[in-house]
């Protein structure tokens, strides 16, 4: 006689969760295409294909059932998040190398689904950022600001062959991001207000990018409404970044941009709702989630404003990822029938 109760279960499965995450990204991707052209769709496709191929190869080597694990959707989530984090006009091999590295090293070398300490997409991003920094800065200018407009075929020629259209310059289609601009110009002793009068800046943050960030926010709210993510990480992430930026902005508005600018700039929104909330690499306790989110918000701001990189979300996420086991161990909530508020792994 086998004991296998409960015999009933909710319909939810891992792939339903992953598919909802992908669905929540779609509106933002549509807006992305609207502002920056269809190249992003190509890099997403490329990343997806690479992720599935790498995943299949590793599953085969590890003798895991291919179909079940390929359909779990986790590799696709990694692929999409990575593709959305790197410049869409980056050469094809950059996407492929980054995605393959994410799946192979960050995911499977740690034991595969559910066992990785670090967010695979962010590991892929960090690897590319360190190995190929130049390619990681070629962000396209929003269509409205670009000096010249490449058609889709020209974009593809550049992505796959590195060929510029006749007479065209890369500078004509790419532009420094708002965060990058801010950073470099502040070094030239200009004030934030002066810098932000530049054409790439808009009401909240950057032209185009702020709208994409808004749609990441909406997608995140959808995930929250669907109970895929809880509010703890996004809110503490955004709240901590807002508070840190707010304090410094109040102290010296000429040197420090407004908190609203920061939470709508760079990878903040994508990070807060889609990356930091990755189940596997974030804490499991509610208090732990608050600490984790706040830690990323503050670290990302510090890296962004005081560090060497224009944005700090990816490194902040990786930094806090490494603290997850510690955070979890120190924030175990009180168990029914026990005294105290929470306990540290084992000791009350």
């Amino acid at each position: 006689m086998s004991i296998n109760s409960p015999l009933v279960a909710e319909k939810s499965t891992v792939n339903i969760i992953m598919l909802k995450v992908l669905a929540a990204l779609l509106p933002a991707i549509a807006v992305y295409v609207y502002f920056f052209g269809p190249a992003i769709l190509v890099s997403i496709t490329l990343a997806s294909a690479t992720a599935l191929a790498t995943e299949a190869a590793v599953l085969y080597l590890r003798r895991y059932p291919l179909r079940v694990y390929l359909l779990d959707g986790s590799a696709l989530v990694t692929a999409w998040l990575l593709a959305l984090s790197i410049p869409p006009l980056a050469p094809w091999w950059l996407v492929v190398v980054g995605t393959a590295f994410a799946i192979l090293v960050a995911k499977h070398l740690y034991g595969g689904l559910g066992n990785n300490l670090f967010n695979p997409a962010m590991v892929g991003f960090a690897a590319l950022m360190i190995s190929f920094p130049a390619h990681m800065t070629h962000w396209p200018a929003p269509d409205v600001l670009a000096q010249s407009h490449w058609n889709f075929a020209q974009q593809m020629d550049f992505m796959f062959g590195g060929a510029l259209p006749a007479g065209a310059k890369l500078d004509a289609v790419t532009m420094a991001t708002p965060l990058d601009t801010l950073k470099t110009q502040l070094h030239l002793d200009r004030t934030v207000t002066e810098i932000q009068s530049g054409s790439i800046f808009s009401i909240l943050s950057g032209k185009g990018t702020e709208i994409i960030a808004l749609f990441y926010l909406l997608g995140g709210l959808f995930l929250w409404q669907q109970r895929i993510i809880s509010w703890h990480i996004p809110l503490s992430f955004l709240g901590a970044m807002f508070a840190t930026a707010g304090v410094l902005h109040l102290v010296d508005p000429g040197q420090y941009a407004s908190p609203l600018f920061h939470i709508f700039a760079g990878g903040t929104m994508l990070g807060a709702f889609f990356i930091a909330t990755d189940y596997v690499t974030s804490p499991t306790t509610l208090l732990g989630k608050l600490i984790f989110g706040a830690g990323i918000g503050i670290s990302a701001y510090i890296i962004r404003v005081f560090g060497g990189y224009p944005d700090g979300v990816a490194f902040a996420v990786l930094f806090l990822n490494s603290a997850v086991p510690l955070i979890d161990a120190y924030t175990q909530p009180r168990v029914f029938g026990h005294a105290g508020k929470w306990f540290r792994g084992g000791k009350e």
Partner: protein
């Protein structure tokens, strides 16, 4: 409205309760054979007090409680005991249990039934009566009720009528049909425990039962509390929290916080025992699931499940049967098992009602289990530690506070059979604990034996020395020379020393020479056996010594 104190988590599976409440309860026909396991309650199994061939009357005690945590079992009908033997029992272990097989004569002749005035007998006497009459918790745990009644001056008596598991409706029907009798049972429990307040918790998906109980409770001061339909509100700890805001301390008893909790069907049997003199020999059982006529039946304990389920006409595509609800129930591998006091429900399963769960995937730490856990545990951590056989960690993360309700498994998107992992870890830990205790015992025995041998040796030596000294003194006295008497003192001392030495030598020789006697010319088998036993002894000694060494090294690490 009473303030409720919601417990954490919980789930709400599809209820499936309507099916079996369309018809009122009916009485199941008397089967030809009844199989009455002697273990139908927590604690020691009852000891049979009849033998094969005996004629018994309905309600006659056929097994008597063995020890305090035990309960009696009774003949559910009149007839003849045909055998007392091992039979399959509806127990999670699936192991057969000693059972009394009764061939019914169809006459249903009762023993002499005597109502008692519970106010006239002292509490200990009443508890003894309940033990003798086989009153145990009918909510599923079947813990002997007399043990739970052994506390007084209660703040709150909680009557558990939540019936939170899907499909099960036997408590619902009991309250709809016999509310007045249930209330009489509550009076007895209240009186026995001196409870100042009585709260009857019923999930709000049972409006008929709530109404019936409210009417029956008029003028009693008992309060019927409708609680939200949320599994597992029928778990005693969760219901107590919900109704009183108090948490039963981990590893403790509800009486520590001035509360006790009885299932509604249990208090009903208290009424039958006290006011009608009937022992617990039947109960309401829900037959439901993949059946044409789902319904509740009053079923005699011992009725084979295979015969019983036919009453509700299982459909052709029935794949099996489940005893209990779908959250905590036990699939029945063998339909010859009898209905016991713990059997509240039998569900016919089918592929449509219980589709096979998807393949288990790795844990993705989504923490839905933690959100659903009514014990505020972190099931994902417990799973991780249990799977890795890191039992120490599992215990640190309060594995033993898990009530095995199944909420975590229910919500798991990876469909990991989490509860199985916890059961596995718990049983492994229990096994280790047993082994450790056995080793401790062996070590203690070994140490005591050495101590005793040493003591005997010393005593013997002392005795010999005394004797030798006496003899030397006598010899000295016999020489009769006063002058030499002084020297004789020295002589005596020397003699004493020599005698002691001799005694020690003798003891040593004797010890070395100790050999089993009557072992000459043994058949080879017997000699082999002796050798085997000797070897086992040596091994036991070694284990004991090792455990001592381990303990010492543990202490060393601790320091």
């Amino acid at each position: 409205m009473r303030t409720l104190y919601p417990f954490h988590g919980g789930v709400h599976p599809v209820e499936h309760k309507r099916e079996s409440t369309q018809l009122g309860s009916a009485i199941a026909p008397l089967p030809l054979h009844l199989v009455i396991p002697l273990r139908q309650h927590g604690g020691n199994p009852a000891k049979p007090v009849v033998s094969a061939g005996d004629q018994v009357l309905k309600g006659q005690r056929i097994g008597t409680a063995e020890g305090y945590i035990s309960s009696s079992v009774h003949a559910p009908s009149s007839g003849r005991v045909v055998a007392i033997e091992m039979r399959p029992a509806p127990h999670p272990s699936g192991l057969p249990d000693l059972s009394i097989i009764l061939e019914t004569d169809g006459e249903e002749r009762w023993i002499e039934r005597q109502a008692v005035d519970y106010r006239a007998i002292d509490p200990a006497g009443l508890r003894q009566h309940f033990q003798d009459m086989g009153v145990v918790g009918l909510g599923g745990a079947v813990f002997p009720s007399h043990v739970k009644l052994n506390a007084g001056n209660l703040e709150t008596l909680v009557i558990n009528a939540a019936e939170c598991e899907p499909y099960i409706t036997c408590d619902d029907m009991l309250m709809r049909e016999r509310a007045a009798e249930v209330v009489q049972g509550i009076r007895i429990a209240q009186y026995a425990m001196g409870a100042r307040e009585v709260l009857i918790g019923i999930e709000d998906n049972k409006p008929e039962a709530i109404a019936a109980m409210q009417i029956a409770c008029q003028g009693t001061g008992f309060e019927v509390v409708a609680v939200p339909t949320l599994y597992p509100s029928g778990s005693a700890k969760q219901l107590i929290k919900l109704l009183t805001g108090k948490e039963v301390p981990s590893g403790g008893l509800p009486t520590q916080i001035g509360v006790q909790c009885f299932n509604v069907a249990t208090v009903y049997t208290m009424h039958r025992v006290v006011n009608h003199g009937e022992p617990v020999i039947s109960r309401l059982v829900t037959l439901t699931g993949n059946m044409d006529e789902p319904r509740n039946y009053e079923v005699l304990v011992g009725t084979p499940v295979g015969e019983l389920v036919k009453l509700a006409r299982p459909k052709a595509d029935t794949t099996g049967y489940l005893m209990g609800g779908p959250m905590m129930g036990v699939p029945l591998a063998d339909l010859s098992v009898p209905v016991v006091k713990a059997s509240n429900c039998i569900i016919a399963t089918s592929k449509a009602l219980f589709p096979p769960l998807p393949r288990a995937m790795p844990c993705i730490r989504c923490t839905r289990c933690a959100e659903a856990c009514p014990a505020d545990l972190q099931p994902q951590e417990l799973f991780w530690f249990s799977r890795a056989r890191n039992f120490e960690k599992a215990q640190e993360y309060k594995l033993f506070d898990c009530i095995e309700c199944g909420c975590c498994s229910y919500v798991c998107p990876s469909h990991i059979p989490l509860v199985q992992f916890y059961r596995f870890a718990k049983s492994e830990i229990a096994e280790h604990e047993k082994e450790r205790k056995a080793a401790d015992l062996a070590r203690e025995r070994h140490e005591f034996r050495e101590f005793r041998q040493e003591r005997e040796k010393q005593e013997k030596a002392a005795k010999h020395a005394a004797k030798a000294a006496e003899m030397a003194a006598k010899a000295a006295a016999a020489s009769g020379k006063a002058g030499e008497a002084a020297e004789g003192g020295d002589d005596a001392a020397a003699a004493k020393k020599a005698a002691i030495q001799a005694a020690i030598e003798r003891a040593k020789a004797k010890k070395a020479a100790v050999k089993p006697q009557n072992v000459d010319d043994l058949p080879p088998g017997a000699q082999a056996k002796i050798d085997e036993i000797d070897e086992r002894r040596a091994q036991a000694k070694e284990t004991a010594e090792q455990s001592v060494a381990v303990q010492k090294s543990d202490k060393g690490q601790g320091a």
